[in-house]
Amino acid sequence: MKDQADSYQTADGRTIGPVVMEMRNITLRFGGVEAIKDISFDIREGEIRAIIGPNGAGKSSMLNVISGFYVPQEGEVWYKGARRPPMKPFEVAEQGIARTFQNIALFEGMSVLDNVMTGRLTHMKTGLFSQSLWKGKAEREEVANREVAEKIIDFLEIQAIRKTPVARLPYGLKKRVELARALAAEPTILLLDEPMAGMNVEEKEDMSRFILDVNDEFGTTIALIEHDMGVVMDLSDRVVVMDYGRKIGDGTPQDVRNNQEVIDAYLGVAHD
C-alpha cells in the first residue's frame, strides 16, 4: 500500500498524486435503514476513481455524502488534509467539488451556454452592488468567465447547440451539457453519478473518451459511479466495490476483478 502523501506513475505514464479526499468510517442511516455501513476509502489527486456495485448498494448515497447532500451519522470526511465539518451542498461546491446527477439536473429553461455559465458561479466574486452596476470588475470577470465556458463548450464538442434551450436536447447531449456545467467550475474533484446510464454503445464510447480527455487535459480528479463493468475497468485507476452498503473490494480494476466477494455480488450469490 502506498503512503497517503506519495505520488506514483501509472502504467500509461500519468502521475497520480497524494490523497486529496478521504472517507473515514462513514455510516449513513435513513431511519432504521443503513444505506452505508462503516465505509472508508480515499481519492488521490489526478486519478479516476470508480465506485461500483449492484442496485441499492449505496453508491449514490456515497456520492451524496461527498457532495454534502447527505450528512452521515458517523464517520469523518477529510478533504485536502483537514477534517471537513458538516456542510451544505453549496458550501461543498464552493470548496471545489462539482457533480452531475443520475437523473440529470439541468436548468431546463436556460440555454446550454447559460447552463455552463452557472457552473462558473463559484468563480464570480464581485458583490451584489458592483454586479448591479455592471461596470469595471464585474464586467471583466464576466468576460473571463465566458472565455472559460466557451473553452469547455469547445472541448466537449457542443458548440452547435450553445444557444439551444436544454429542454429541447436529447438525453445523451443533456448528459454532456451537465458534464460541461460541472467542468466549468474547474473543480478539484469531479463527481459523476452514472454518466453513462441509459446511453447506447456509441454514446458510451463518446462519454468515456470525454472523461479520459478531461482527466488528461485538465488533470481533474474524477470519482464516478457506473454500472457497466467493462467501461469501469477501462476507465478507472482504482475501484471501490459496494454491496448492501458495505465495502467488499477496493483496488485496481485487476484486483477487483479477481476478488471472489465481488464476483459473488455481481453474479448473485444468496446473501445470508
Binding site: A93, L106, L121, R181
Partner: protein, 335 residues
C-alpha cells in the same frame, strides 16, 4: 378628428396607465413565484406595509406608539422631525429587506419541500399578520403620501376628479391624463428593464434563475437557496414599495390598498405567472380592456359597472384556452 374617436383614445390611454399600476403589483408576485414556487398572497399587504412605513418615517411617527403609550402610560406620537423623501425611501428599503429576511428565517425556511398549497396558506397567514403589524406600528388612519425629490419637484398627486379636466390638447381635443400615471409608467418601465437586466446579466440574477429552475442543480453549482430566497423577497419588497408609493399617491395610504393584490390575479393569469414582461403586458391588457369594454359596451348596453368583473372574465377565458398565459413557460416535454 371626430370627438367620439378622440374620446376613445383618451379612454385607451387612461386604461394603459391604470394597467401600469396593476402590472406593478403583479411584478412582485412573479418574482417570488418564479424563484420559489410560492404564490405570495401577501404581496398586496407588503405594498400597503411599505407605503405606511414610508409615510411613517417621513412624518417622524413613532412606530408602535399606541402600544408604547398603552403599556407605559406615556403620550408619544411623533419624534417631531420630518425626514426627506429620498432618505425615507432608503430606510424603507432597509425595512423591506429586514422583512424579507425575517419571512425567510421564521416562516419559509421551515417549510422547504412542502406542498404548494401549504406555502400558499402560509402566505395568507403572513398577509393577515403583516396587516396587523402595519396597523399596530403606524395606526389605521388614512394618510396622504407626498414624495418629493426636492422643493417643488414632487410626485404628482393622483387626481380623483374624472375626465372633465384637461391636461393636454391634441387634434383640437382636450385630453385628460393623470400626471401621476405618466410618472408611474416611466418608473415601471425603468423598474422592469432594471429587473430583467439584473436577472440576465448578473451573478445573483443567474443564481436566481438557477434556483427558479432546479433547486438541486442550483445547490450543486454552489448557490445558497436561502440567500437567493431572501434576495427575491427583498426584490419583491422593493417592487411592493414602488407599487405602494404609486397607489398611495393616487388614492391615499389606506388599508384597502392591500386589496389591489386581487386585481393582480387576472393580470397574472393573462401574462403567465413566470414572466416579468408578461406581468407588464398582462397589466396593460387588463387596464385597457376593462376601460374600453366599460366605455364601448358596458356603459351603453350592459348598464355599466363592468370594470369590477371584466378582468376576471378575461382571466377565465385564458384559463380555458391558454392556461400558461401569454408569456408563461411553455411546457416542453420530450417523451
Amino acid at each position: 378628428m371626430p370627438e367620439q374617436l378622440a374620446f376613445t383614445i383618451e379612454v385607451f390611454l387612461n386604461g394603459l396607465m391604470a394597467g401600469v399600476l396593476y402590472a406593478l403589483v403583479a411584478l412582485g408576485f412573479v418574482l417570488i413565484y418564479k424563484a420559489s414556487g410560492i404564490f405570495n398572497y401577501a404581496q398586496g399587504v407588503m405594498a400597503l406595509f411599505a407605503a405606511m412605513t414610508l409615510v411613517g418615517i417621513q412624518n417622524g411617527q413613532v412606530p408602535f406608539s399606541h402600544l408604547i403609550n398603552a403599556i407605559f402610560g406615556t403620550d408619544v406620537h411623533s419624534f417631531g422631525w420630518s425626514v426627506h423623501s429620498g432618505l425615507a425611501i432608503v430606510f424603507t428599503v432597509f425595512v423591506m429587506i429586514a422583512l424579507a429576511w425575517m419571512v425567510q428565517k421564521f416562516v419559509f425556511r421551515h417549510l422547504v419541500g412542502q406542498e404548494p398549497i401549504i406555502l400558499f396558506m402560509a402566505t395568507i397567514g403572513l398577509a393577515y399578520f403583516l396587516e396587523g403589524v402595519a396597523d399596530l406600528m403606524w395606526g389605521s388612519e388614512i394618510k396622504s403620501l407626498n414624495v418629493c425629490a426636492a422643493e417643488g419637484a414632487c410626485l404628482p398627486q393622483g387626481i380623483n376628479m374624472w375626465i372633465d379636466e384637461t391636461t393636454f390638447t391634441a387634434f383640437g381635443y382636450g385630453f385628460f391624463i393623470d400626471n401621476l400615471d405618466i410618472v408611474a409608467s416611466i418608473v415601471a418601465a425603468i423598474l422592469v428593464i432594471g429587473l430583467v437586466a439584473f436577472a440576465q446579466y448578473t451573478k445573483q440574477g443567474r443564481a436566481m434563475r438557477a434556483v427558479a429552475d432546479d433547486h438541486q442543480a442550483a445547490l450543486s453549482v454552489g448557490v445558497s437557496l436561502n440567500f437567493i430566497w431572501v434576495l427575491v423577497w427583498s426584490l419583491a419588497g422593493f417592487v411592493a414599495l414602488v407599487a405602494g408609493i404609486m397607489w398611495g399617491a393616487k388614492s391615499g395610504v389606506q388599508f384597502s390598498l392591500s386589496l389591489i393584490a386581487l386585481k393582480a390575479l387576472p393580470v397574472l393569469m393573462l401574462g403567465g405567472f413566470t414572466s416579468i414582461p408578461g406581468a407588464i403586458v398582462g397589466g396593460l391588457i387588463i387596464g385597457v380592456g376593462e376601460k374600453l369594454f366599460e366605455f364601448l359596451i358596458g356603459a351603453p348596453f350592459l348598464g355599466g359597472a363592468t370594470e369590477n368583473w371584466f378582468a376576471y372574465m378575461l382571466a377565465l377565458l385564458f384559463l380555458v384556452f391558454r392556461p400558461q398565459g401569454l408569456f408563461g413557460e411553455k411546457i416542453i416535454e420530450r417523451v
